[in-house]
Amino acid sequence: MASQTGVLMATTFLLNGQSTTLDVDPNMPLLWAIREVARLHGTKFGCGMAMCGACTVHVDGQAVRSCVLSLSSVANRQVTTIEGLKSKQAKAVQAAWIDLQVPQCGYCQSGQIMSATALLEKNGAPTDADIDSAMSGNICRCATYPRIRAAIHAAASSAKA
């Protein structure tokens, strides 16, 4: 891990609309920069290797796994976390999540909601296959999958309305 010098370096990016400068190891995964430096705790740690989706955030509107994305690579880009969701689709997703009572333990749900929102922002009327593709990278150990699927369909129609 030659590149893990731990040397500090300032990285500036837009975090939930705010220009943010974090003065830490640029190799630090964005996840930990967000959680421990920017102190936004909604984004969760589940595997650290892009296998579970708990850490999903939006970078320039795309859903990405912040646990493997180094802080340096978001320099001057737009990062949105669950705390910064604003779009019509995001609100529709969150409303549907509450209406259908999706969460159980809730730990995966920030990531689920981020992935679902990114999907709806690109695709207003996703099919079940589209949902599989966009959501299968988000593990839910409580297996709330049937409700997630239903909630995405519900959010899609309410966001259109």
Binding site: Q94, Q101, C142, R149
Partner: protein, 733 residues
């Protein structure tokens, strides 16, 4: 963030009020039952098991009409907060929109799980079942006192008063008053000894679908989990543990780790070497830089394959009888047709979504713990022992847990004890330290669902009636060597045989034997515990017997359950809703059924699967029927069935923890595979209407899915699976 409102742990009333005041900003006056509080506590201390406790332990009402219900059970996804609040709010006639839930402090004198006796903790799908009478009584008494407060204020008979959504009405005088406005007066009144509970037909919340109290915060990222706890000056620790179970540190070199920017200290603790740092990332880099030499002399070095071979041999040796009815050997010996099969079940990890974590603030006189704590009383004891304090000096703030499935309820309190030992080694100077496990730590951290070998034999007579049943189970005991060992009778660990020894089918001759093994791998209950393997074996094998008898698996089971109305009820409901009799399915598809009793609930499931020519299984649809007595919150019950099915299905298809020369071969979700969205079936849940006492729902849904799928795979391919997970068997038709 209701859950972030943390109550102090000491029961003294003043403290309780302070804590409450500090916690619930909207609360101006704490409202307790002075009359009963102290006597009740004294009484509780004398004989803590005898319920009920003083109701003050469960509800506070503010002059602002806020209703704070204190949950003695952790919310880890199963819906306990909502269920508990529903039961109390029902009898209180509370306005649901004013209800918030707060986690109880660790205090067994007030908050013991009545199903566990003296212990405060959550498990065995007992949260609602054990709280049911206790909370109804607490709610009803609170209501009664508010009513008498109103009648006192208005000088009208209680009989003329009605309550609706936290408002008391006196129709004749058209007067009304909110709960909040009566708090002061009610607080002066004595607690009634007895109250009339509602007639179920008058229930307004129970049986309805009040929104979960935790859902909103779980949809905007504000719900507080242990990993989110931040305290002034807090440090983060990662622990390097031995790669082999039972190995210990021989020597280590922490120099490189100490040089990683952000690393504060490297300390040795009983379970390994901990790197304490300013951030997770620094601690992680520090731990990667550690070099540790381990002493493997006492470590478990076997491979799971070799252990399974030994289990297979043991299955033919004499074992302890867990059930003996009639003479199974003889019956099978005389049988016209014999059926036999053996099953292999692997170790399983719980892999809760939130890797284990705990925050500990330790000094010379106190130990304060923040955790998704499932076993408060036991964790208090273990933490005290590790810290060299008394249990009373250990306080626990129970936070939301990102799943558990049994993992956090362990008698050695592994993750709590680790955190305390690190805080101690660090200097016990009051610095808050958060121990964070990684996923690899979790998958390789032990306390697995034990590995088991099952051997079954059955005999059919000339009329194709099942006359003899012999079931041998080989595997480690979960209870042996723990504080629960006392619960073992004649060497039989009930968690090894539940679901098998109490098999409900009407068979004249039954023998169930248990051979308990020992291994260096630590084991623990895993969602639905014994039935996670016994139901699998029993329900797959009974299907094989039905096939041998030339009978339909559903009708064959129903016939054997004539005397078991509730079991038969769910079996018929599931079969009916799934269209069991709608004839055979197209090629490559199959239907399978399974039924069980677990945690006093009855569940049947019908699975429909497709198997492609490469032998990969897709479960298309699952129909589930459950009878769990009174359905407190049908939607949460439905959610628990959906979740249980997904959890059990993932394990049945892919789940396996294996050892090679003592090393765990899995580490993360790439090799410990779990169910994903695109593998999740359509699920229909049907709840049997009932007025019986509510019983467990968190676990029972897990048990039948594996065998239902196995039986469906047989229907689709003609192949029987006997080695699990399915991915280990070739089922190409």
């Amino acid at each position: 963030m209701s859950n972030s409102q943390i109550s102090p742990s000491r029961p003294a009333r003043r403290e309780f009020l302070k804590g409450a005041g500090a916690a619930v900003t909207t609360l101006t006056i704490g409202f307790e039952w002075p009359g009963a509080a102290r006597p009740a506590l004294a009484h509780a201390a004398a004989a803590p098991t005898s319920a009920p406790f003083a109701p003050n332990a469960f509800v506070r009402i503010g002059s602002d009409n806020s209703i704070t219900i204190i949950s003695k059970h952790i919310e880890m996804g199963q819906g306990a907060y909502t269920g508990i609040a529903t039961v109390l709010a029902e009898e209180l006639d509370a306005d649901w929109t004013q209800v918030r839930v707060e986690s109880a402090p660790a205090d067994a004198t007030r908050y013991a799980n009545l199903a566990f006796g003296k212990i405060q903790g959550t498990g065995g799908s007992s949260a609602i079942a054990n709280s049911w009478p206790q909370l109804r009584d607490a709610g009803a008494k609170a209501r009664a006192m508010l009513l008498s407060a109103a009648s006192g204020e208005w000088h009208v008979p209680v009989a003329e008063l009605t309550v609706d959504k936290s408002v008391i009405h006196h129709a004749p005088s058209k007067r009304q008053a909110s709960f909040g406005s009566l708090v002061k007066r009610a607080a002066m009144l004595p607690v009634p000894d007895t109250v009339q509970l509602k007639d179920p037909k008058d229930f307004k919340l129970i049986g309805q679908r009040p929104a979960r109290v935790d859902v909103a915060a779980k949809c905007d990222g504000s719900a507080l989990f242990t990993i989110d706890v931040e305290l002034p000056g807090m440090l983060v620790a990662l622990l390097k543990r031995a790669p082999l179970f039972g190995a210990t540190v021989k020597s280590f070199d922490g120099a490189a780790a100490a040089n990683v920017p952000g690393v504060v200290k490297v300390v040795q603790v009983p379970r390994g070497i901990a790197v304490v740092a300013k951030s997770f990332w620094a601690a992680k880099l520090g731990r990667d830089a550690l070099t540790v030499e381990w002493d493997d002399s006492k470590a478990e070095k076997r491979s799971s394959a070799a252990m399974m071979e030994e289990y297979r041999r043991l299955a033919d040796q004499p074992a302890l009888p867990a059930r003996k009815q009639g003479d199974a050997k003889k019956a099978i010996g005389e049988a016209v047709r014999k059926v036999s099969a053996s099953f292999e079940f692997p170790y399983l990890a719980h892999a809760p979504m939130e890797p284990l974590d705990a925050v500990v603030k330790l000094d010379a006189k106190s130990c304060e713990i923040w955790a998704g704590d499932q076993f408060q009383t036991i964790d208090q004891l273990n933490a005290a022992q590790t810290a060299g304090l008394t249990p009373a000096q250990v306080s626990i703030h129970t936070l939301y847990a990102g799943g558990s499935f049994g993992r956090r309820a362990n008698t050695v309190s592994d993750y709590i004890v680790e955190a305390v030992s690190i805080a101690k080694a660090y200097g016990a100077d009051g610095t808050p330290i958060k121990l964070q496990w990684t996923r690899e730590d979790d998958i390789r951290g032990g306390l697995y669902r034990p590995m088991y070998f099952h051997k079954l034999e059955a005999g059919l007579n000339a009329q194709n009636e099942l006359t003899g049943w012999h079931h041998v189970i080989v595997g480690q005991s979960i209870m042996a060597g723990t504080i629960f060992a006392a619960g073992m009778k004649d060497g039989i660990d009930s968690t090894s045989v539940e679901g098998a020894a109490n098999i409900a089918y009407a068979i004249p001759n039954i023998a169930v034997d248990l051979s308990t093994t020992k291994a260096g791998v630590s084991v623990l209950w895993w969602r639905v515990v014994g039935s996670s393997h016994t139901t699998f074996a029993v329900e797959t094998f009974i299907d094989e017997v039905a096939h041998a008898a030339g009978a339909d698996p559903f009708t064959f089971r129903r016939k054997l359950l004539e005397h078991e109305p509730r079991m038969k009820g769910v079996l018929e409901l599931a079969a009916d809703k799934a269209g069991w009799t709608s004839g055979p399915m197209p090629k490559g598809k199959g239907r399978g059924i399974a039924v069980c009793e677990a945690f006093k609930s009855f569940v049947a499931q019908v699975a429909e699967v497709s198997v492609d020519d490469a032998g990969s299984i897709k479960v298309d649809r699952v129909v589930c029927a459950i009878d769990c007595g009174t359905a407190v919150n049908p939607d949460i019950i439905k959610a628990q069935m959906e979740g249980g099915i997904g959890f059990g299905l993932g394990a049945a298809l892919y789940g396996a923890i294996t050892l090679k020369d003592g090393r765990i071969e899995q580490g993360n979700f790439n090799d410990y595979r779990v169910l994903r969205m695109n593998e999740a079936p359509k699920i229909e849940v049907h709840i049997v209407p009932s007025t019986e006492k509510p019983t467990g729902v968190g676990e029972p849904g897990v048990a039948p899915i594996g065998p239902a799928v196995a039986n469906a795979v047989f229907a689709a391919t003609g192949k029987r699976v006997h080695v699990f997970p399915f991915s280990k068997s070739d089922i190409r038709s």
